[in-house]
Symmetry: C2
Subunit: 310 residues, 2 copies
Amino acid sequence: MDSSITIFGDWGTSRLRLYLRQGKSVLDRRDGPGIGALKASPRETFLELVGDWREAKPSLALLCGMVGSRNGWQEAAYAPCPANAADIRQRLLHIDADGLPVAIVPGLSCRNALGGPDVMRGEETQILGALALNPDLAKGRHLLALPGTHTKWVVVEDGAITSFLTAPVGELYALLREHSILAKAAPGDGPESPEGFARGVARIIEQGPARLAHLIFETRSRQLLDNLPKDEAMGFLSGLLIGSDVAATASWFGDLGQVSLIGAPALGALYAQAIAAHGGSCVAVDGDSAVLAGLSTLSPAQNSGVHVLA
Amino acid sequence: MDSSITIFGDWGTSRLRLYLRQGKSVLDRRDGPGIGALKASPRETFLELVGDWREAKPSLALLCGMVGSRNGWQEAAYAPCPANAADIRQRLLHIDADGLPVAIVPGLSCRNALGGPDVMRGEETQILGALALNPDLAKGRHLLALPGTHTKWVVVEDGAITSFLTAPVGELYALLREHSILAKAAPGDGPESPEGFARGVARIIEQGPARLAHLIFETRSRQLLDNLPKDEAMGFLSGLLIGSDVAATASWFGDLGQVSLIGAPALGALYAQAIAAHGGSCVAVDGDSAVLAGLSTLSPAQNSGVHVLA
């Protein structure tokens, strides 16, 4: 049994989660600032947070996410698709932090289904984790979705990430909700209503995703003319954006089939609803569990055996 | 010859333009704050700006734009489409400002081509002005576009506004340019490059407007992976947004044919380029001239004769 001590880290734009591990057990957990909210350098921030954990003599700290971006600790060049766990493991960026070996997981790049360049950083680890947690996904062709600020749609084939496509749906929603005239037509600041969301999804199915920019204006006009309450208008806007993302993805991937949804449950539930409206079904994978499982898969020490067997 | 003294006003969200007129001549012009930037009430602001003009004993002040909105001076209820000049003139909202008669032009509402509620306020006056300036437009069926924060596509038939559709393209562009992670991938703050714009328009023609939300992410990924300069990325984003608006409109209106473009020349030139890429052609109508011509058309005193003849 593996009893080595390692540190795992999920270091994104808005938060850092560090885990002290012995074998597969988590001994301790600490949170820190995201790459977008640092007050000191990534190296200083990391070493201060790790602190007394070093007494346990960890053999490695394995970090994924924006820590490997141009604005992070050190840039870990994108690995090209198709890429499986072994490909990514070979491209870990190894650096030294005051005597502690640190490895940073590279992001992935691809030419996406539209022929454009596409990138991810952090999601690759969650995807490999989902494959480790659900071995059925590691065989055959499957569609995964990681909803968020920049939603990723991912195709895996026989355990390798072959292609993906980014939809900045969460960012568009936040921009429109916080800053637009469209949202300001009526006062209020409640949660989005489920009825509004369902209506937005249905409107996209009725008119097609090519109409998105025109339909978005209804967020305002229905408040002005039909007295649509603000919470319904915001639900409607969310339904339009997520609905058009799912509709355009369905036409790209073909039959949606069963989609594995990785990430936060609340946003995942909205995607599940829109996917169901397009004839697909969903299984949910917890995002934090996926990160830990993915880092396990990518850990050079723990997985050298798996690598040889593959 | 008509030598009556009137005041015309174009009072939008961001600015007020007032004209003192005798017959068809402009005697004086004054600018003031938009409805969105008032420091006093609309009534006080108006009376202070008009000031000594009242010595000329104007018979009426005719105002169009957001002055007639819920947040303006007093709400002038939307007139339903189809509506021609006579219909709108009958629905002028008459109020008194310290002894000076004021008439506010109502906005228009319709069920648009997508079956949704749609509204405009201010553009109706420019459209009627374009018809007055170009009598060919007052016969048959024509497509007009008023590019802006909320671009309006308008169908006129035999002098009446029968239908319109709003695309909040300018607002989406400004939100993405100012606030998004997509725009921030590279530094720089120059004007959009024409090459980037043309590439964005071409990308939409290639992939279809249903892909807009996915293609928008290329604004970021092309900066990260292809070292696209910021000015080209912003041009590309503008081309995607305007290109998808034109593409979706073309599928709604049928053959674009000759489109009359009302408004600011710089933005109009971008729309003209995207319309040409979709096989249409354009004629430009100056926005300020259109407002004045439209207010002339709507002025009860000056146009009672026209009304009787119609």
